[in-house]
């Protein structure tokens, strides 16, 4: 049982480049999330999804896009990368949307540097 899998683990981008961070879960969770964590800081919600075909903005959505075509996958797209997007990106999923005694399961993260 793999849980939440993120790829790649590390990536260096040049300013203006684009990339897609991949996230897949095998727990059949409807709810999925993308967070970013800057050094020494807490987690900020970028986007979330409550099921295939349904996505919504979180706290810091600017500069990012998401799609959810299947229950398993929730990719995060960075367009025109900027140094401010240097961060560690975590994908998470949950069974009940964070209620009913079920927490979030996080992937191991993607460390992104924009130079």
């Amino acid at each position: 049982n793999a849980g939440v899998t993120q790829t790649p683990k590390f990536r260096i981008l040049k300013i203006g480049q684009s990339m897609t961070l991949q996230c897949a879960q095998d727990m059949n969770h409807n709810y999925m999330y993308w967070y970013r964590q800057d050094p020494g800081m807490g987690l900020k919600l970028i986007y979330y999804s409550v099921g295939a075909g349904i996505t919504d903005k979180g706290e810091v959505p600017n500069g990012y896009n998401v799609s959810r075509s299947t229950t398993e996958d929730f990719p995060l797209r960075l367009e025109l990368a900027a140094p401010s997007q240097t961060s560690v990106y975590f994908c998470a999923s949950s069974y009940s949307g964070g209620l009913a005694n079920y927490g979030y399961t996080f992937g191991s993260g993607t460390r992104l540097t924009v130079v």
């Binding site: 800081m41 979330y48 706290e59 209620l99 927490g103």
Partner: protein, 109 residues
């Protein structure tokens, strides 16, 4: 608006106790607690769903005071393995779990 955690950092000797607080300026309906070790992903500890609820997880427990809009995490007889950064999370609207800035806990032998 994200919840506020206090203290920002704690240094303990093994076997000592610690309390981490999480407060919100908005009404709280549930509180999540997570621990993150350096370079790793956050790991879910527990969720409190209603005011007055208390939960325990080995020697780590938490309480939720709905009226005061705060939750506290208690670590008793701390072990080296408890080191890490602890985050509380609260909902700002449906599905928007926002996290506090974290409390870094260091346990020394």
């Amino acid at each position: 608006q994200q919840p506020v955690q206090s203290p920002q950092a704690v240094i303990l000797r093994e076997g000592e106790d610690a309390v981490i607080n999480c407060s919100s300026s908005k009404a709280l309906y549930s509180v999540h607690w997570y621990r993150q070790k350096h370079g790793e992903a956050p790991v879910f500890l527990m969720i409190l769903l209603k005011g007055g609820e208390q939960k325990g997880h080995e020697k780590i427990s938490a309480s939720f005071n709905e009226k005061k809009q705060q939750s506290s995490l208690y670590l008793t007889a701390s072990q080296l393995s408890y080191s890490g950064t602890y985050f509380c999370g609260t909902f700002q609207g449906a599905q928007k779990l926002v996290f506090g800035q974290g409390t870094r806990l260091t346990i020394n032998p």
